[in-house]
């Protein structure tokens, strides 16, 4: 489906994510006998190239996750022009902030900071360089309609695949 362009958007996480939007789902340290071994790359090394709007997400926003350079590239954030690539990262959402990604510059820009955090918090907890404005806005909290969508139909769909997670988040 992704190969034909039938998927518009996809969420990808990463054990490590770097400033060029490379993601690492394999492990830390030198490959293959890594210090930490994660599950593996799953479909990332395909979908990241072919789905137009990939939303990177990771709740933990810390220097160990958002690193200058990933230890293993499960899927690269950008590709040379001769590589067939119609998809890629659009943004990165964490528990503290939202970034947008510019593939031509290969850099993230801070879009907004979630309530409870400051620009300095984001600078302190991000291991890679990114662009930002000193007067970066606060993230807009979801309205009632969006919340009821997430807690209703979306939660029901998620529960089918991830019941333990759904119980934890939605009760």
């Amino acid at each position: 489906m992704a190969g034909q362009g039938r998927i518009d958007a996809f969420f990808l996480g990463g054990g490590q994510i770097d400033g060029q939007a490379n993601i690492n789902l394999v492990g830390t340290g030198s490959y293959p006998e890594t210090d930490v071994r994660w599950s593996g790359s799953f479909g990332s090394a395909y979908l990241y190239y072919l789905v137009p709007n990939v939303i990177l997400f990771r709740e933990e926003h810390s220097p160990r996750v958002l690193v200058p350079k990933v230890d293993f590239i499960s899927a690269p954030g950008i590709s040379p022009p001769e590589h067939h690539r119609v998809g890629g990262p659009k943004c990165l959402i964490t528990g503290k902030a939202e970034f947008s990604f510019d593939p031509s510059a290969g850099r993230f820009t801070l879009v907004s900071v979630h309530p409870g955090y400051t620009l300095q918090d984001i600078l302190d907890s991000t291991g890679f360089d990114f662009d930002y404005a000193e007067d970066v806005p606060m993230s807009v909290e979801p309205d009632d309609q969006t919340l009821s969508l997430i807690r209703g139909p979306v939660a029901d769909q998620i529960r089918g695949l991830y019941p333990v997670f759904a119980d934890k988040v939605f009760g």
């Binding site: 006998e33 994660w38 799953f42 090394a45 590239i73 019941p163 997670f165």
Partner: protein
């Protein structure tokens, strides 16, 4: 063509040779847990495990019981119960050789295998460390690209597993196997040289006789042997028949983090437990 044999789970396990390439399908579709416990009991060694495209409980168990020498996978995990501890430990220590893949590459290579093709191209993957570490994959310039345009494409060698081990809801006494909506079981069985099946039940009706059942059926010509294994995916779930055993998987995930606790697990749930549903 040999007729499909109806055997016990332990007899089925005896048909898996040491050092063979063994394909197992992801837990959501077909977890051959009972057959894998029988494999551990028979002391199979040196398996080259292919997970289609990912592995879960059965893969972690096989690796932890020292039955595996290499793994080709797009990921091994216990899903909501966390990482696969025996897999992680074996890779980190270098005890098993790892061939990291990505899900569509596993499917594409098996599709080449089922068609008898030597290789198949796949989009994506270029520039990743997955590709950089796979010297069995190649990149060519797309020969159909417009004149003067460079279009590098990844090529994957076809995969034909020596043995595919699958678990299904039902089979018939003629050797036909119901796969329902899990079409990847057919892909793997077509690609494999030998397909061994455990089924919740073996029915008397010919599943190929009606279009309703035939549409979701794998022909006996691909099936070498079938054994009845009631609740054979446990503690993983199976389709609409039964859910996963959440408590057991949680306790496995905890036990598998510790060498001694894992040995206790093996003694209690594998070695002390005869194939419960052997026909």
């Amino acid at each position: 063509m040999q007729q499909t044999k109806i055997v016990t789970v332990d007899e089925l396990a005896a048909m898996v040779p040491d050092n063979c390439n063994l394909a197992i399908i992801k837990d959501d579709s077909s977890a051959p847990s009972e057959a894998v416990r029988a494999l551990v009991r028979r002391g199979v060694k040196g398996l080259h495990l292919l997970t289609v495209p990912t592995g879960g409980y059965p893969s972690d168990l096989l690796i932890g019981a020292d039955c595996v020498s290499s793994v080709e996978t797009s990921g091994v995990s216990l899903a909501e119960f966390g990482p696969a501890p025996r897999f992680g430990k074996a890779v980190k220590s270098g005890k098993i050789k790892i061939k990291d893949a990505t899900c569509p590459a596993v499917y594409a290579a098996l599709q080449a295998g089922e068609k008898g093709l030597p290789f198949i191209p796949l989009r994506g993957v270029l520039g990743s460390d997955i590709a950089a570490n796979r010297d069995d994959w190649k990149v060519i310039d797309n020969p159909f690209a417009d004149e003067g345009n460079s279009d590098p494409v990844l090529l994957l060698a076809a995969i034909r597993p020596d043995v595919a081990l699958i678990h299904v809801e039902k089979a018939d006494r003629f050797g036909n196997v119901w796969v329902g909506r899990e079409k990847e079981l057919a892909t793997v069985a077509h690609a494999a040289h030998c397909t061994l099946v455990t089924a919740e039940e073996i029915v008397d009706d010919d599943l190929m006789a009606s279009t309703t059942t035939a549409a979701g059926c794998l022909s006996s010509m691909y099936i070498d042997a079938i054994a009845v294994a009631k609740n054979g995916a446990w503690p993983v779930g199976l389709g609409d028949l039964y859910d996963r055993d959440t408590e057991h998987l949680r306790s496995y995930a905890a036990a598998a983090r510790d060498d001694d606790a894992f040995d206790v697990y093996l003694q209690r749930y594998v070695f002390a437990a005869p194939a419960r549903a052997s026909a």
